[in-house]
Symmetry: C2
Subunit: 344 residues, 2 copies
DNA sequence: ATGAAAGCGCTAACAC
DNA sequence: GTGTTAGCGCTTTCAT
């Protein structure tokens, strides 16, 4: 791993602001002003500078600028998984808003690992990131509060944050919607498939709302029908069915707390010769695009995924620009029931 | 300044390398060396510096470093869509490799817009990005060649690049696999659903291989059964079926060049009362996770999505480190047929 | 309206 | 081993 020792930039003479200025016959400062749209530059001068800039193919150095400003035009995003149709649209929404302002998106995947999340936040700080939008692994957000008090705006997405700004959906309400629908359709023997992780507040909230409504109707979920799996993949849904079918009896309806697991559940139920919804009705959560194309189209709770990303980005930029109220804004969007064949 | 009850540390003295050095009683340079693992620092000194660094919560400024080195520890990634199960795993694979080396991922979505792609590449340059991995919109890659000749490694992903490094799958071969399977199962009345965009080389290649094998068997695809849609969403598959069913006759087998469209196709065929595969067999492409859970599990061509990302990142880092051969490496991975119920 | 000077925080070159 | 000296390319005062 060696490099040129004497003239490191002999092949490619980098075009700097100084070059542009020289070519335009002005000082560096004036060139900088012109390129940044500062009005205190005479039109004629400005035109000359802009012309020089394009002629030389000037590429501004964001690092130099960032060094001075102690901030870059970037948004850091941390989500649990990239390859997850629940998160991907959120990131896409953020990117759309960020692109409008020519901010770059720095994306990290925590893979539900709190350490990884902290590492990413630290790296973001090193880059003097312009702001952070994250779906945190747990509710412990001290690392992020430290960043925020250092002046970097932070918005939590798809999860609530007591001490800061967030854009989330009302998961308790979502759980209620599921329970109400099941009760209304006359189901009483009801099971649950969910991620076991007690740190995962959104799932806890969904289950809470679900139980609340069932409880009010005098119903509960037998332990044997409360299946806890470790992840949120299709395979976890498959595993859940396997475990459920070990029981002497099985429920006539299942609330599966994510669509991916729901797809796996339906898939396996079918393979095991059980009809959906006749033998077991299934309700998922998230309304991913593939829910509709499932073996039996999945009844589910729709969450405004892309909007959450867009709104989070909007909040972030407002904070960045210093507009809006001082107190943290906490946005809770409403989930909606989408009825399909798996639980009509 | 007014006093605030909650956040009181308003004037945070930024911790710089100078602070750390002072506290450790050494010069800035020595501190820099110690923190960068330069062996030319006495153990004792190094320990003192490291201690000072942690005590002060020192956060290195990557912008300053980048300004000197004219390069940052970042990888820029450009894909067509984030919310696409074909690309998301690739990005995840890249991120995994990058994270090992503490490189941050800067992600852009071109949305099949060449202008947007160029804009992103330009922004990457401004950030003095460490390398670029992209799935380009077209084969016109002059913008990227310019970047590369300025010393930034570039790897193309999921597409071939005559003049540079790439990691792709053999789409022509994939198309052949589809045709062979159909022929072997006795299908002769064969239709095609594909994205119409002539710039999209991968689809062109799939179709080319497909036609090649059919042609060798004396078969062709009637124009009426060659349905061209504008996108690669589920809805495009749905639209394709609508168009197909306007015909007097319909094919007994369909090759749909992406799984998402394939899901839409199956969905709509079913809604229109046509059985898959009895009335129409369907083969997709990509093997996204949801293909298996489709109304009728989708026969498809599996592509090593995550591996492509990982390999692209590996290539990039090799180039970055200056190891490996000088000539561009071009990796072509093999697709595999996955037989499921939609075309058994 | 324009420019000169002074850094931003760090690393590289060359001493000692 | 360690320190001194120069910048990297840009944006800020503060002059003019």
């Amino acid at each position: 791993m060696k490099r040129l020792s004497i003239h490191k930039k002999q092949n490619v003479m980098r075009v700097t602001l100084a070059e542009v200025a020289r070519r335009a016959g002005v000082s560096i400062v004036t060139a900088s002003r012109a390129l940044n749209g500062n009005p205190l530059v005479a039109e004629a001068t400005k035109d000359r500078i802009l012309a020089a800039s394009t002629a030389l193919r000037y590429i501004p150095n964001l690092l130099a600028r960032g060094l001075v400003k102690d901030r870059t035009a970037t948004v850091g995003v941390i989500i649990l998984e990239l390859a997850n149709p629940f998160f991907a649209p959120m990131v896409s929404g953020i990117q759309a808003i960020a692109a409008k302002r020519a901010f770059l998106l720095v994306v990290g995947e925590s893979r539900r690992d709190e350490e990884e999340e902290r590492r990413l936040v630290a790296q973001f700080q090193q880059l003097r990131i312009g702001g952070i939008i994250l779906n945190p692994v747990t509710d412990t957000l001290d690392h992020v509060m430290a960043v925020r008090s250092a002046g970097t705006p932070v918005v939590v997405m798809a999860r609530r944050w007591e001490h800061g700004e967030y854009v989330a959906t009302d998961d308790v309400e979502g759980g209620r919607l599921v329970a109400k629908h099941l009760l209304q359709r006359g189901y009483r023997r009801i099971g649950l498939v969910r991620m076991g992780d007690p740190n995962h507040a959104p799932v806890q909230a969904r289950v809470q709302g679900f139980r609340e409504v069932l409880g009010a109707a005098g119903l509960g979920i037998p332990d044997a029908w409360d299946v806890q799996v470790s992840g949120a993949q299709i395979t976890d849904g498959i595993e859940a069915v396997e475990r459920l079918l070990l029981q002497a009896e099985y429920p006539s309806a299942l609330f599966v707390t994510s669509d991916r697991k729901g797809l796996g559940v339906i898939h396996r139920l079918h393979e095991r010769g059980l009809r959906v919804p006749e033998d077991v009705a299934v309700i998922g959560y998230d309304d991913i695009p593939y829910a509709e194309c499932a073996r039996v189209p999945l009844t589910t709770i729709a969450v405004p995924k892309r909007s959450m990303g867009e709104m989070a980005a909007d909040l972030l930029f407002q904070r960045h620009d210093g507009v809006g109220p001082v107190e943290p804004r906490q946005v809770l969007l409403s989930p909606k029931l989408v009825i399909r064949a798996s639980c009509p």
